[in-house]
């Protein structure tokens, strides 16, 4: 089960969002994708998920261009959790998770007790079984995000793609969600905002800047003071603890004195 991007480019509204990105996801790893807003993280995620087609280059799933595999085949191998997928429908928590069985069910195939078992296990896995009967709109952001993960798990994928899964969650929920994802015996690719979280949970980190992949490697090699200043336009101190995990401390402008506060041009590339 391999997933890789081979020189993929993508553009929207006449501007290039991704410019020749290549990366190979290794089996079983937790790969984080970081970068400022508008650097192409979300676009890269949806190309990897096969939801959008690259303008040039190809995304390969098990060696086959993902566009040539049927949508259903793709959905059985890889599950994608979008940023903030929400609904106004009155569905229950359990029904939201049941959607994960869609790739295995045809128009005429009945729902089986096996499907029920898989849904139960997924709810149990994300610790939401006790809220299974609750309506979606009564649940908190953290609970909804857990259900999205459960839905993805019910797809029984081997690769899990997450686009900023911890957005709008409080810090406790952020950590427990990433912890939950890391516990799964799956290959995980996640676009992340928080650099410390990336350092804590990821085996490898890919850094996006202006639609290009500018670094890929282990957290301690990728997260350097110079690179973070260059890509994010902030000054940091980085320490490594005894376990080899990087801790990034952001420095306020006041603590830096008057020099060195002009932001690099990369931050003006916003939007998308």
């Amino acid at each position: 089960m391999t997933l890789s991007a081979d020189h993929v480019s993508w553009s929207a509204g006449g501007s290039d969002i991704l410019k020749g990105v290549s990366l190979a996801v290794e089996t079983g790893e937790f790969l984080g994708i970081i970068g400022p807003n508008g650097s192409g993280k979300t676009s890269l995620m949806s190309l990897l998920a096969g939801i959008r087609k690259p303008r040039s280059g190809a995304v390969l799933l098990d060696g086959t261009p993902i566009g040539e595999l049927g949508r259903r085949t793709v959905a059985q191998r890889l599950a994608f959790v979008e940023q903030q997928a929400d609904t106004g429908e009155r569905i229950t928590a359990r029904q939201a998770v049941e959607l994960g069985r869609t790739p295995y069910l045809g128009p005429l195939s009945p729902w089986s007790s096996q499907d029920d078992g898989i849904v139960d296990a997924a709810l149990e896995n994300v610790d939401m079984a006790h809220l299974a009967g609750r309506f979606w709109h009564t649940l908190s952001g953290g609970e909804r995000q857990r259900l999205h993960i459960a839905r993805a798990l019910a797809q029984e994928p081997r690769i899990l793609l997450l686009d900023e899964p911890t957005n709008h969650l409080d810090i406790g929920h952020q950590i427990s969600l990433l912890d939950l994802v890391q516990r799964q015996d799956l290959t995980v690719v996640a676009a992340l905002h928080d650099l410390n979280h990336a350092a804590m949970f990821c085996n490898r980190i890919a850094v996006m800047q202006g639609g290009r992949l500018v670094a890929l490697g282990q957290p301690r090699d990728v997260l350097t003071e110079a690179r973070i200043r260059d890509v994010f336009g902030v000054d940091v101190d980085i320490e490594q603890d005894s376990g080899g995990i990087c801790h990034i401390r952001f420095l306020t402008r006041r603590s830096q004195g008057r020099t060195n506060v002009t932001r690099p041009a990369s931050l003006s590339v916003m939007g998308a």
Binding site: G50, G70, R71, E82, I91, A96, E98, L99, T102
Partner: protein, 342 residues
Amino acid sequence: MSRTLTSIGRTGAAFAALAILLIALWLGAAIGETAIPFSTVAQTVANRLWNAGYPLEPIDEGIIWSYRLSRAVVAASCGAALALSGAVLQSLLRNPLADPYILGISAGASTGAVSIAILGFGAGMLTMPLGAFLGALIAFLLVSVLAVKAGRGTAAIILAGVAGSQLFNALTSFIVTKAATAEQARGIMFWLLGNLSGVRWPDAWLAVPAALVGLAVCLWHARALDAFTFGSEAAASLGISVRRTYLALVGVSAMMTAVMVSIVGSIGFVGLVIPHAARMLVGVRHGVLLPAAALIGAVFMIVADILSRTLIPGQVLPIGVITALVGAPAFALILGQRRARA
């Protein structure tokens, strides 16, 4: 889901639905300006279908068979088709206010049908629905483009629908004023308000298959529609081919709307309100929701037709008036609910 509905429960529900539909049709045939006993209705049907040979007044038999029953059957098909179209469009566009009437699909179908009828590109039994179908598709395309330009969103598509409806209604009026004789014009204006008066059996042979094919296609896509709960990208990541589903379901909605508009004119609010009623009763799962919406729509239209014939003695109200009188307040309620939730 199927935990609550076993296969026995499902068969039972299907039989119950069929029974409710038959009772509604029966009422539609019995109630009217001259009330006809239910037994006479049954005997008429037996005479016509199985040559049972019950001795009946030819006038009663004629009224029941040629006039009221055909009308009730068309009303049922029409209600089912419009409710299905509404349910499908609401789920597909993730917009609780979507329905063929509000999105301008009905208006487009009217323009198409009127063009055929008056400008006469070989007006006939099948060309009018075909013209209506083309009109419906063009209207939906135009409204979609407008909505995307206006920035997607719930409000954008509704506003685009309003603009589209106005445009196509204006076109229809233009064509009618320009090309129709005074008598044609009067007939068309009456038909445009939604009218079951001229309906006979040949109309039913078009309306019933259209509704049944529509129901079958929609049910085939029930799971795909479920997958749209969190939007089209979520549906894609659940293994649904979004474009194919869109094409099939928008196509079948336009087809149903077009056939019904070409027979009874454009009837508002059924497609909007009935799916919400169905959701409240049976929940949001499309495997159950779609048949429920079809049934409720069918029964609602039969009842609306009975009311339109009996509310004012000696006068027949256009059925669109009845559906709007019920539907407009319901529309207001849905708007209010959305506001409360947002």
